[in-house]
């Protein structure tokens, strides 16, 4: 009797679980499911949350106009904390929920991990901020698109500016040992080495979070570099620039869009003056961008954060392609992305065969009187 009871008990438990947790996939085909994945919590959340808000705004607009192909667009927002191992869970979660296209992820590493899963299921994924060159250039990810230029374009611009405009002869290349910073620094280094006009006098990685960088700064001084190119984010950049200036060094400092952030100027204060940084081309005069930022202010009562416009453009591009393709079919949407131009806050864009957006680029900025000013 007891044994019999055990079996019934087990069966009951299994049934209850099975019923209560049945995947919701494939229930409603009258909606278009747009996945939004990225870091929405943790230390990199400030890069991921703006993309969620961008998607919400675009989708609200689209749905107000009656949706796409007569269907409403629904958002599936999932957090990946920028960790590759979490990103795969996130990707499978989105697939379980029957996602049609994905806008994300934020970090390159997480994007690579997730792409493997999307690729096998023929899901198109468009990132607003993953800048690793291999994502498009390796050809491994035909389902990947992005609305931001890749790191090598940025490094190219930095090196060209240092050589052509600043006439630097000796350049020190530093990075923060991270995926983004080191990748960028590697490109900068190889571009300088290919050019006879200048040489790399120092190539080093600094340890993020170290108590101070005085030894590295002394090393820069000894190398007699005219310019420093730094790949990485603003906390390390401001520590280095502050220590350089405190040691009365006037070396030019050039960095990337991880530094082209107002927090950098706020933290480094007067020491930030004169620092160069590359960043996405200024589109604030674009009427669509102004409208998008206004909508954000109205909805959330604050200025949008990093990569907001990129995410806005990505969402628009994806939805537009679905509309043009007439379905969420992988091949049709891919073709639409590559052939149909779409008006976005970043300008009129479409995608090349590798998945990079045409018409999106970087320009160089300088800190002048406590503000980043675009140099033309």
């Amino acid at each position: 009797m007891k044994r019999y009871f055990g079996k019934v008990f087990v069966a009951a438990i299994v049934l209850v679980f099975a019923v209560s947790m049945m995947p919701g996939a494939g229930l409603a085909a009258d909606t278009i499911k747009l996945g939004v994945a990225g870091a929405h919590s943790g230390d990199l959340a400030s890069y991921g949350i703006p993309s969620v808000k961008a998607a919400e705004l675009v989708v609200k607009d689209v749905n107000a106009k009656g949706g796409i192909l007569g269907k409403k667009v629904v958002l599936l927002v999932e957090d990946d904390v920028c960790k590759p191992e979490v990103a795969t869970s996130t990707a499978t979660k989105l697939l379980s929920q029957g996602v049609d296209v994905v806008m994300g992820h934020i970090c390159s590493g997480a994007t690579k991990a997730a792409l493997g899963i999307y690729k096998a299921e023929n899901i198109i994924c468009m990132a607003p901020s993953a800048t690793n060159p291999a994502l498009t250039q390796s050809g491994d990810y035909p389902n990947f698109y992005r609305t931001i230029a890749s790191d090598d374009a940025q490094a190219r611009l930095e090196v060209d500016y240092a050589l052509d405009v600043l006439k630097a002869k000796k350049i020190a290349v530093l990075h923060d040992k991270g995926d983004y910073g080191k990748g960028l620094a590697e490109f900068a280094k190889s571009f300088i080495e290919q050019d006879p006009r200048a040489e790399v006098v120092l190539y080093e990685g600094v340890t993020p979070g170290a108590v101070d960088y005085s030894a590295v700064v002394q090393k820069i001084r000894r190398s007699k570099a005219d310019a420093v190119i730094f790949g990485g984010y603003h906390p390390e950049a401001s520590k280095i620039i502050m220590q350089m200036r405190k040691k009365r060094m006037k070396t030019v400092f050039i960095s990337d869009d991880g530094v082209k952030d107002d927090t950098f100027i706020k933290v480094a204060g007067k020491y930030a003056e004169g620092v160069y940084a590359t960043g996405p081309r200024d589109t604030s005069s674009n009427p669509l961008a102004i409208a998008a930022i206004e909508a954000h202010k109205k909805a959330y009562g604050a200025d949008p954060g990093a990569f907001f416009l990129n995410a806005y453009a990505a969402t628009q591009a994806l939805l537009n392609a679905i509309e043009k393709a007439g379905s969420t079919d992988y091949d049709a949407v891919s073709k639409a992305l590559k052939t149909e131009y779409v008006e976005t806050p970043l300008g009129k864009i479409k995608f090349d065969n590798k998945g990079d957006a045409t018409g999106i680029g970087f320009s160089i900025y300088q800190v002048q009187n406590g503000k980043y000013v675009e140099l033309k």
Partner: protein, 300 residues
């Protein structure tokens, strides 16, 4: 030669900062044999408190020197209070438990304090004003050593001397030494062991707070995570010198500071931490209890 001197001074400054934090580790370890993982967080809280006080006082329009003193004092008071409370909550109930339990409890406390500051304040880096003015007479040497660095060196030296005097010559210092040698015996001769432990935590936290304020004004920024990284390094320094020994912690800190500075200067900062850890392993292979540590005789 100049370059060598620069690296030497850079290493000395870094070592001084490590020393101010490492002292707390080593004192606590000497008394209750616990790696106080939350010690780095106490240092971070000291720096944060100072920043908050500075911001409030600056808005009230006080002059810089007064702000510096008040912020320093309040940071020390609060850090000590946190150190005291952390001990009472997370370590005292575990006094007789296995060491691993106390260690996990300390890790938990460290996580808690980090996230407490993260949630109550912010995850962003905040700029920390440089309170120490540039000394004019130092201007010709500014490229070698700044005034903040000099203040750090002097403060560390003063703290060391005061601490040594306290431990060598005062009554409570004597009680601390007795407790660290044998807790039961100390109790038998009438020492209030609980009080001694509390005092140790308070003193250790106070030196960490001084370190926190100085280093924050040296690098000019803080966030909730600075304590963890500095804490790990200071802990390495304490072990290197022989954990439990106060001169050992100071020596270990300087050696670690120099190792990192010279490794970066002459080799590469890519492997800065690798050098630091390899050096630690080497020392421990030949002296398993650290440079100045007493190697205990174990009896059955």
């Amino acid at each position: 030669m100049d370059y060598f001197l620069e690296l030497f001074l850079g290493g000395l400054t870094r070592g001084s900062i490590y020393a101010l934090i490492a002292l707390g580790y080593t004192m606590v370890y000497g008394i209750i044999g616990l790696i106080n993982f939350a010690h780095g967080e106490i240092y971070m809280i000291g720096a944060f408190t100072a920043l908050i006080v500075i911001s409030v006082l600056t808005l009230m329009g006080m002059n810089t020197l007064a702000i510096l003193v008040i912020a320093g004092v309040i940071a020390v008071i609060y850090s000590s209070a946190y150190g005291y409370t952390v001990e009472k909550i997370a370590y005292k109930p575990l006094r007789n438990a296995p060491r691993l339990s106390a260690l996990i409890s300390a890790i938990g406390m460290s996580l808690f304090l980090q996230n407490y500051v993260l949630l109550a304040q912010t995850s962003d880096f905040l700029p920390f004003p440089c309170l120490i003015p540039d000394f004019e007479f130092m201007e010709p040497y500014a490229h070698i050593i700044g005034s903040t660095e000099i203040v750090i060196l002097i403060t560390t030296a003063v703290v060391m001397v005061l601490l040594t005097i306290m431990i060598k010559f005062t009554k409570i210092g004597k009680a601390m030494r007795a407790t660290s040698q044998d807790k039961t015996m100390a109790m038998l001769v009438g020492i209030n062991v609980n009080r001694v432990i509390s005092v140790t935590f308070i003193v250790g936290s106070a030196t960490a707070a001084i370190g926190g304020v100085l280093i924050a004004s040296h690098v000019g920024m803080i966030n909730f995570y600075v304590g963890f990284i500095a804490g790990i390094k200071a802990f390495v320094a304490a072990v290197l010198g022989g954990i439990g020994s106060i001169p050992g912690a100071v020596l270990g800190s300087f050696i670690l500071g120099w190792t990192e500075s010279f490794a970066t200067g002459y080799v590469s900062s890519d492997y800065e931490d690798v050098f630091a850890f390899l050096f630690l392993v080497l020392i421990l292979i030949f002296r398993p209890a650290g440079i100045l540590g007493r190697s205990e005789k174990y009896k059955i």
